[in-house]
Symmetry: C2
Subunit: 342 residues, 2 copies
């Protein structure tokens, strides 16, 4: 197999010798671990014996374009994204499964670059890729590569976070600046005619969440990663699920000056722009200080801040006190869409 | 949302209100269960406490065309396919995660039909879909719908099946006729100019495998579902992984007359054609009769037969004694490819 200049063809997805060779040379190598090396139709591993504990499962397809962007690529993003959905449930991520849909003609060298990046991200996170699948579709029937990652994790006894647990008086925390991922992607789409120094915030948040779970105890109500739809969508989801209102302060929101500038140019509201390495948490007022301190002690939560509070509101509105002292409703995604941002 | 005549647009994948509505009206409805209804970024469930037991995880993308075919559709196939990869490991399937990649413009009515079919297949199997994801890509950047399903399951203590456990003297069992799925798909691709009454064998095999595990005990060495690449690929995989040879008898192979005829017309070898409701098992000679009886007692194993035996062979060849008394090597997929068969 000529990884340097070869291309994926339909035989790589047909289940014959070429498929086996592609998997061996590109994926098994990049992800190498004892479970994947079993080479069976499924990976087997010990049942995590946590008396009274629970498990979680999360899945995400990744269809981002471009495939390579400042701060990451579809491979690292696919690892981080699914680890984060497991982690914001308060769980310790255990294993990942990956599924590739590859377009005929896709360069093997790019596939290898993506696989290597996934392997690196999974090793850095300590969450092995234990099983996988590779399908190939005809030229023009996909767009390069799509990757679905599925993760499982273990919840310690007593950890029960859920989007319906926010109550009036709770404090809303945010782990850092918003809009970085979305702006980095938009900027790297050639036709936009501008460049910024902004890189994606794509990162695995499970160490940060573990510290928050430890510090917050039962005072930690829920966590969520504000991906597609941005902070606005996430706050609206929480308000709807918990049947409460949320009021945040514009002044409190950490947004990089370059992100503000890029959003102005693009006619976007940073509140609607996707993040891939940030989280929102809702905590009881009494636990806010401890959780915030734990967040700030983690490299990925250094700039964590309290951005608002949960209030009573039958309409489940999210409101923002603006820097000029006024107020406005923060709605779900409005205006321009940002397709294929993750 | 106009499910009857509406179409998927990019906003359905953007993470805003339209995404939430699509998920509520099409997916949550079709898959409804207590875990999915949590509505969080991940589904939480009890740790299956099996002292000394293990778990398995398997994933498959499904890119089949056409989406609807005799005997099933991409939705039921995606449920069966992943349940089968969990089941042939000897495990009891527990939960599924699903990820959809949908092309802009795809009819909502077709999406609902597929989701309903998945819901039905998952309920019939007793394996709930507990979490999901939905992404939308621009028109022309995918082909209708791609679905990745990931499954987890539990292995009882002592069950340790693996592709490397075949030994000379072991018997090779097959659960029923080969080639049905592949021929049904090829026949339903309009441009082939022929029709057969053959329907896909797509089915969930976990009840059959549970009966085999119970009957075979430690005499059951491994099971595998001969999907892409057909029986030929599966036998070659086993021979390679176990470093043995395999000899099968052509006479013993159950193949429907219509499948033979269709394969002749298409220039295909039934041994290379995909199956979606069959399995191959390797068992110690002493356990063969008991396992075969257990298979035949299950509706999906009624036509189970012994097709050959494991032999010593450094080259890991798969050989077939032909009906005329001759012999030939059964190689991995040769000749024409059958793209997007699952
Ligand atoms: N992208 C990948 N990364 C890592 N491992 C992979 C990848 N694709 C396939 N594999 C591994 O290769 C082996 C063969 O996979 P394959 O998909 O052919 O098996 P299967 O699911 O039983 O067959 P089918 O997909 O036809 O149903 C499995 O062990 C699988 O985990
Ligand atoms: N096709 C689907 N079937 C069933 N449930 C789905 C489906 N798509 C999404 N869901 C459910 O809808 C909720 C929202 O999913 P969503 O993908 O928006 O969350 P996320 O993964 O946290 O965000 P993102 O995908 O932007 O990273 C989750 O509870 C998810 O399980
Ligand atoms: Mg299989
Ligand atoms: Mg996600
Ligand atoms: Mg597979
Ligand atoms: Mg999330
Ligand atoms: Mg499979
Ligand atoms: Mg998702």
């Amino acid at each position: 197999m000529d990884v340097k200049s070869g291309r994926v063809d339909l035989s790589h997805g047909a289940g014959g010798r070429a498929s086996a060779q592609l998997i061996d040379e590109i994926f098994r190598d990049a992800f190498s671990n004892a479970w994947l090396d079993q080479g069976n139709d499924q990976a087997a591993f010990d049942v995590p014996l946590v008396p009274g504990g629970r498990m979680v499962m999360a899945t995400d397809a990744h269809v981002i374009t471009p495939l390579f962007f400042p701060g990451g690529d579809i491979g690292s993003l696919a690892v981080h994204g699914t680890i984060n959905d497991v982690a914001v449930g308060g769980a310790v991520p255990l294993h990942l499964a990956v599924s590739f849909i590859v377009e005929e003609g896709f360069p093997l060298a790019d596939l290898k670059r993506i696989a290597d990046s996934m392997g690196r991200a999974s090793r850095e996170a300590g969450v092995p890729i234990v099983t996988g699948d590779t399908k190939v579709v005809e030229r023009g029937k996909a767009d390069g590569v799509f990757i679905t990652t599925t993760g499982i994790g273990v919840l310690a006894p007593g950890v029960e976070l859920s989007g319906d647990r926010a109550r009036p008086g709770d404090v809303v925390l945010l782990s850092g600046s918003i809009g970085d991922h979305g702006v980095a992607i938009m900027a790297s789409r050639e036709n936009l005619g501008f460049e910024t120094a902004i890189v994606s915030d794509s990162a695995a948040l499970h160490r940060l969440t573990a510290a928050m779970v430890a510090a917050g105890g039962t005072g930690l109500k829920l966590m969520r990663d504000p991906t597609r739809g941005g902070l606005a969508a996430t706050l609206n989801e929480i308000a709807t699920q918990s049947r409460v209102g949320i009021r945040i302060a514009e002044e409190a929101l950490p947004i990089k000056a370059q992100v503000v500038a890029a959003c102005e140019l693009l006619g976007l509201d940073p509140l609607n722009v996707a993040n891939e390495g940030k989280l929102v948490a809702v905590v009881e007022a009494g636990a806010a200080e401890a959780v915030l301190a734990a967040m700030r002690a983690d490299p990925l939560g250094r700039e964590a801040v309290a951005i608002g509070e949960v209030i009573e509101d039958d309409r489940s509105f999210v409101q923002m006190t603006t820097s000029f002292g006024g107020g406005r409703i923060v709605d779900w995604l409005t205006g321009e869409q940002l397709p294929r941002i993750c």
